[in-house]
Amino acid sequence: MSAKTLEPSTDITPAAVEVHDVHKWYGANRVLDGVDLTVRPGEVTVILGPSGSGKSTLLRVINHLEKPEIGYVSVNGELIGVKRRGERSEVGVPPAEGRGRLKELSERAILAQRSRIGFVFQNFNLFPHLTVLDNVAAAPVATGRLAKPEALELARELLDRVGLGEKTGAYPRQLSGGQQQRVAIARALALRPGVILFDEPTSALDPELVGEVLAVIKDLATSGTTLVIVTHEIGFAREVADRVVFIDAGKIVEQGPPHEVLDKPQHERTRDFLSKVL
């Protein structure tokens, strides 16, 4: 499914994430109002915006935790949650150029797609009845990718990487918030996802624990993983983001490199927001 295996005749490698004209509403409440976003492979994108602007919904649309009412999302060239009627394979077809009606995928197929997209929640959502090691090893085993011993081996490796090699036998509630979030990141990494989505990963943490989680994310960012991060940590955005996207009232207001969006914002609403959070 990797884009690199395709013939070089397609001059554009598919975007890591492409969001195409996505609309989402709950009743009369428009949460996303025509969002277009392209994330290139290896890029680190930080999404900023006021509370209720739709940034978390946008993230959840990408791995189909929320279904868009209009529009579609593709990850590494593969449509998420839907397929084009009559087409056998979506790989390598730039979705924007495809034709035909979209048809919902089976639940099993959607779950398989999600297992290739990492997601880190604000409230960690670790499985409290499983040890830290089992939390990380569960998904590779359950999705049939690895046998149990290999999965445990991988889990130990990943826990070492996030600095929790000593805590494998602990239960999540015996850990601090920062430690739990690092376990959650290891759990997402265990499926070797092409893209990892972070939904306000540090918002539920005590201030002194934020640093340890950001350090792990920064490490991922420098290792070339594609990351999409919703956060309120402006300093962090400035440091790691290749691109900052400012979203308000369900629309992308502006986007660009951090030094442009954060230091020379073009729009009144961006300036207004930054003056409040900085």
Binding site: N125, A142, R173
Partner: protein, 326 residues
């Protein structure tokens, strides 16, 4: 400054006991006297002793006859029937309850409506009526057959051979139990945090794995106490199978009672004590099952009775040593 006296004393207790801790003991606060608590305790104790004394000495209970009946084969046969009926119905009822709960939580309105109606109906009809209905079922439907609806049948059973008294009893109790278990299981599933469902599906875990390994084990923590409550009710409800001519514990005692009318009271005592024993066994199992499913939910597991006894003794010894030091 507002440190409770207990904490201060236990801090002083940390070094070996032979080291005197004068400055702290000098400040010890005298506990509040609570005379009414002592009076209430005394009254309750007197009443309790009186009750036990009455139980032991009143000739009305005929404890010698109790001893005679307690392990009689008729009674033990009845006990076996009770255990059998209760065990089958508990398992079948729980399975039925899980299926009904899943139907009730499904997105299909038909499944939801069927599940709701089943629970509504079976909770409304008294168990004894359900049992008697089933008992007379073979008169209503002579054969049961499996086949195409309204079309030809592939297999058919002769109802009167299939429906033994045991089957009628187990089916009746299971149908009833499933209705209650459905609500217990549904409550348990709803008590699991929405974030758990989201995390499981964000990881792409297969649907059946999500339920078996993520949601249900966490739901069991709140299902267990409610289901055990249900189970104890079920064990006692088995006494109704007497009315479909099955001789359970209560039924055997009842039959013996009509043969030996003078022994009715000791026979009821025998039944009572056996039910007490059954309930106690279930409660002990409950404790350990709950403890097992508490893993991860609390930072440390609740102590077992033996562990509690041990820490209690250690505390007592420390306290005696402390008092001696003062």
């Amino acid at each position: 400054m507002s440190e409770p006296p207990g904490a201060a004393v236990s801090l002083a207790e940390a070094p070996p006991a032979d080291e005197p801790s004068k400055p702290l003991t000098a400040q010890r606060v005298q506990p509040l006297r609570r005379p009414w608590r002592w009076i209430a305790t005394a009254v309750v104790l007197v009443l309790a002793v009186q009750f036990v004394h009455g139980l032991a000495t009143n000739p009305f209970y005929q404890w010698d006859r109790f001893g005679y009946w307690f392990l009689r084969p008729t009674i033990l046969d009845g006990l076996l029937i009770t255990l059998e009926v209760a065990a089958y119905s508990a398992v079948l009822g729980l399975i039925g309850g899980i299926l009904l709960a899943l139907a009730r939580l499904s997105k299909s309105p038909v499944l939801r409506a069927v599940s709701w109606t089943y629970v509504w109906a079976l909770r409304s009809i008294p168990l004894i009526v359900v049992l008697l209905f089933l008992y007379n079922f073979s008169a209503l439907y002579r054969t049961l057959s499996v086949g195409v609806p309204f079309g030809p049948a592939f297999f058919s059973f002769d109802e009167s051979k299939l429906a033994t008294d045991m089957v009628v009893a187990v089916v009746g109790l299971s149908l009833n139990e499933a209705a209650y278990a459905a609500e217990v299981v549904r409550g348990g599933i709803l008590s699991v945090d929405q974030g758990q469902h989201e995390a499981a599906s964000a990881l792409g875990l297969p649907k059946s794995y999500q339920f078996r390994r993520i949601v249900f084990p966490q739901a069991l923590r709140s299902i267990t106490p409610n289901y055990v409550n249900q189970l104890i009710g079920l064990i006692k409800s088995t006494s109704l199978v007497f009315y479909v001519s099955l001789l359970d514990l209560f039924g055997s005692a009842q039959t013996m009672g009509s043969t030996y009318p003078g022994d009715i009271v000791p026979l009821l005592l025998v039944v009572t004590v056996w039910y007490l024993i059954l309930t106690s066994v279930v409660s002990v199992i409950q404790f350990y099952v709950e403890r097992y499913y508490a893993r991860g939910a609390t930072r440390s597991l609740p102590p077992t009775p033996i562990q509690r006894l041990r820490t209690g003794l250690t505390d007592l010894r420390a306290r005696i040593r402390r008092e001696a030091a003062v």
